[in-house]
């Protein structure tokens, strides 16, 4: 009985990691950069929903508003902080800038919204599903449904539409894509727009499931989700979802059956083992570099 309860807890935690990991993996897969500010865009998205619902806005328009604001924010970050560095000699430059943006967002949030904890009111109004003593919360159901929708939607978008095909081309070879007449900057900006829109949705679902909001809310789940993305094979969209859910389950089982103090050590040990055995992650593609 408690095994099933733990499994459900693991899936609900994992589904939150998964939805954050989708944004990470999407941006990495196409722009080939780690957007460490992703977790903090999530936090901004959650604050937007918190304040707009507090001002009396219904849940769905508030979420849409948050998606719009985060999309604009993501594109602005990309244009100001990442695009000028894309041609820099070292890929480290843009990575460090991403960390900088992450701290900038956290500290701006501290300034505007203070460090006082806000208790987030869940936007999910679906009642919990109770089956034979098990309790699956409405948030978990919505998060998993959202994950599946996003995975399917993104896969269709990338494989079936023109901008999606352009993204694939950019991810394979920026230079060649440009020669074929693809606007690389616009394609990457679109990637960031989608990634940040996903971040807003992730933020709302994260805070609905775990209703405590501070300027640091996004940072640790962001890092865990990054781990999940690597675990599932960074760049792979279904991989991010599987990686996220597995990570949540491992974390909860580690806490439940081994030691609650060592939960994180266990999660990261599993990550090391997986990467030793399969360096590209569970669903990662093995790409042969031709010389």
């Amino acid at each position: 009985m408690s095994f099933l309860n733990y499994l459900i807890s693991g899936i609900s935690l994992g589904s939150v990691y998964a939805i954050i990991a989708l944004g990470y993996t999407m941006v990495y897969g196409i722009a080939k950069m780690l957007n460490f500010a992703h977790g903090d865009v999530i936090m901004v998205g959650a604050y937007v929903v918190f304040y707009s619902t507090a001002a009396g806005m219904p849940a769905i328009p508030a979420v849409l508003l948050s998606v719009v604001i985060c999309t604009v924010l993501g594109m602005a970050i990309e244009a100001v902080a990442y695009r000028p560095l894309r041609s820099a000699a070292s890929p480290l430059a843009v990575l460090i800038t991403a960390i900088g943006v992450s701290y900038l967002l956290q500290n701006l949030a501290l300034l505007f919204w203070s460090s006082n904890t806000k208790s987030f009111t869940s936007v999910v109004k679906i009642p919990a599903l109770k089956v034979a003593g098990l309790n699956i919360s409405g948030e978990t159901i919505v998060t998993i449904a959202a994950c599946i929708l996003i995975v399917v939607g993104l896969t269709l978008f990338i494989n079936k539409t023109k901008p999606g095909q352009a993204m694939l081309a950019v991810s394979e070879d920026k230079g060649a894509a440009q020669l074929m007449g693809i606007n690389v900057n616009a394609t990457i900006a679109l990637t960031f727009a989608i990634g940040s829109g996903l971040a807003a949705i992730a933020g709302v679902l994260l805070c609905s499931a775990y209703p405590s909001l501070t300027p640091y809310t996004g940072s640790m789940p962001g890092i865990k989700a990054f781990v999940a993305a690597v675990f599932g094979g960074i760049g792979s969209i279904p991989g991010a979802m599987i990686g996220g859910i597995l990570l949540g389950i491992i974390e909860i089982f580690g806490k439940a059956y081994i030691s609650s103090q060592m939960a994180d050590a266990i999660v990261f040990a599993v990550l090391i083992v997986v990467l030793l055995v399969k360096p590209t992650g569970l669903l990662g593609k093995q790409i042969q570099e031709k010389v």
């Binding site: 408690s2 309860n5 609900s12 935690l13 806000k118 919990a128 309790n135 994260l206 209703p211 939960a263």
Partner: protein, 381 residues
């Protein structure tokens, strides 16, 4: 030009010496007690409460004839909750001729000031500095419980009042405050009639999901969950416990104080939560009511725990000074030596505890008190 500067500085020096003489001369017939705390900045609400309540206590004592027949002069300096500014304030007070210090209010500055005060052999009584190091020297005492002592006090309170038989603990193993309280709680629990059935940790890096810790507590049949943590995580725990239909009694320490102020928090979730705090403004005893009503009348505000600690602090100084037979013509070091002995000999009944006694290491021994959250407010029981 140089000559002029010299003349000015000589004049200034003369003036300063003159001021010094006049204060020393004046010090002979009053006790000079200093206070330090933040009355501006982020922790201002604590310092303000301490300043108001100590001044109120000093005025009452003076009106009733003072200590051993001598009046008290109280001088409170701001430290903005900053260790360096606190030491500066200490030096200012020393220049003023301070003989005893009732302060400082917050732990980190208190630890810094205590370093200086221990060197000077200056008597220090902190109303609310709860870190272990805040009273490291033998010159220092405190009114409140130390952080780890809250664990012992909580275990005693739960045991003596028969609040639970099976207790589960959820604590933050990456935080000194939390793990310190947990360790002393576990030690004291061995002497109490309840049993710790599960003790589960979390860390700064995994503080969103508490379902496992709660599930284990539930499976172990715990009728109480002890939360020696801060209110941010506690609010999540309360939410998650409610969603899994688990309703034990929750019991916390001063870290939970503030949970009702979390913006957007559904306070009905905190209904019945108990927390260990030495003072509740709505307690029915005569002493508390008299204090609360005269504090309200003077400062237009309901006193918080810090005010009660400080009010007690001033009366504790009076009790110890009378025991030691102090006179204002003694110097600070002689006063400190006499107070060190006197503090371990007195028994004091105050707002924050009755039958308070002190050991030579400066820690108070008093019966713990708790409040319960009822109808969205802290209520004494």
């Amino acid at each position: 030009m140089r000559k002029l500067t010299k003349a000015v500085s000589v004049a200034a020096a003369v003036a300063m010496t003159a001021t010094c003489f006049s204060t020393t001369a004046f010090a002979d017939d009053t006790f000079k007690i200093g206070g330090i705390g933040p009355i501006t900045g982020g922790a201002a609400v604590y310092g303000q409460a301490v300043m108001n309540a100590s001044q109120m206590a000093a005025d009452e004592i003076n009106a009733a004839g003072g200590i051993n027949g001598y009046q008290i002069e109280f001088n409170f300096q701001d430290d903005e909750h900053d260790a360096e500014k606190s030491v500066n304030a200490y030096n200012t007070l020393k220049d003023w001729g301070m003989q005893m210090l009732l302060g400082t209010v917050t732990s980190t500055p208190c630890t810094a000031v205590e370093g200086e005060a221990a060197n000077d052999n200056m008597f220090l009584l902190t109303p609310s500095g709860s870190a272990v190091e805040s009273i490291s020297g033998d010159n220092a005492f405190r009114v409140c419980f130390s952080d780890p002592n809250q664990g012992t006090a909580s275990a005693q309170y739960i045991g003596e009042n028969g609040l639970a038989e099976k207790v589960a603990v959820i604590y933050n193993s990456s935080d000194v405050y939390s793990s310190g309280i947990y360790n002393t709680f576990a030690t004291e629990a061995a002497n109490q009639p309840f049993e710790i059935v599960s003790a589960e940790a979390f860390t700064e890096d995994s503080k969103t999901d508490f379902s496992v810790q709660l599930q284990k507590a539930k499976d172990a049949g715990a009728d109480m969950v002890f939360l020696p943590i801060y209110y941010t995580e506690a609010s999540l725990i309360l939410t998650q416990a409610a969603s899994m239909d688990y309703a034990p009694t929750f019991f916390g320490c001063d870290g939970l104080d503030g949970i009702l102020a979390v913006e957007g928090f559904d306070t009905s979730l905190a209904e019945g939560v108990m927390l260990l705090t030495p003072f509740a403004a709505d307690a029915k005893d005569e002493q508390t009511q008299a204090f609360v009503s005269s504090y309200k009348e003077k400062f237009g505000d309901t006193p918080i725990q810090f005010a009660a600690d400080a009010y007690d602090g001033m009366y504790i100084i009076k009790a110890a000074a009378e025991k030691a037979g102090l006179t204002p013509d003694m110097d600070a070091s002689a006063i400190c030596d006499a107070m060190k002995t006197a503090m371990t000999e007195i028994t004091y009944d105050g707002l924050t505890g009755s039958g308070m006694t002190w050991s030579a290491d400066g820690e108070p021994d008093k019966a713990p008190k708790a409040v319960v959250i009822k109808d969205g407010a802290y209520t004494a029981q």
